[in-house]
Symmetry: C2
């Protein structure tokens, strides 16, 4: 359990610790959801790089993806931010 939370924190903080990915998270928080194409517009890197950053966010379980035909709609997994918040509160 202590083991599990460490792994969770390591994985999620790693996903957050990049300026482009943090920007995606903050924008998702505001907008609620985005398509991958909008992410590309937002961060201004190549399509493959955007795909890579989105994949890391999904891998970390901070972001969820839902297929809508040929689009992939992404949104925050707010439960996991709650979990992170609680973890840091314990350290504070």
């Amino acid at each position: 359990m202590q083991e599990e939370i460490s792994h969770f924190v390591e994985k999620t903080t790693n996903a957050i610790a990049d300026s482009y990915r943090l920007k995606i998270l903050l924008t998702l928080s505001q907008k609620g959801e985005m398509y991958c194409g909008e992410v590309q517009q937002l961060i201004g890197l190549s399509q493959s790089t955007c795909s890579h950053h989105v994949a890391i966010l999904i891998e970390s379980e901070l972001v969820e993806s839902k297929k809508e035909g040929k689009f992939h709609k992404i949104s925050l997994n707010r439960e996991n931010f709650k979990k992170l918040s609680a973890f840091f509160q314990e350290l504070s």
Copy 2:
């Protein structure tokens, strides 16, 4: 201000996102404080590598260092964990 918090979050999550550094933080939370030598015992890497990890934690301002003669005593900066917790709460 929004700018500043992003920078803070990026820097601190980067510091946390390493299993050795997370272990140091969790141990500091329990014990309150540690000397660098104890950190070395805890994580079992070379002295120079421990020094490097501790330096990253101090740089991030999640950890504070106080010189006590030839020892350096480190402890958590709990205010900054509070700040992190609040940031993630906003995203949740």
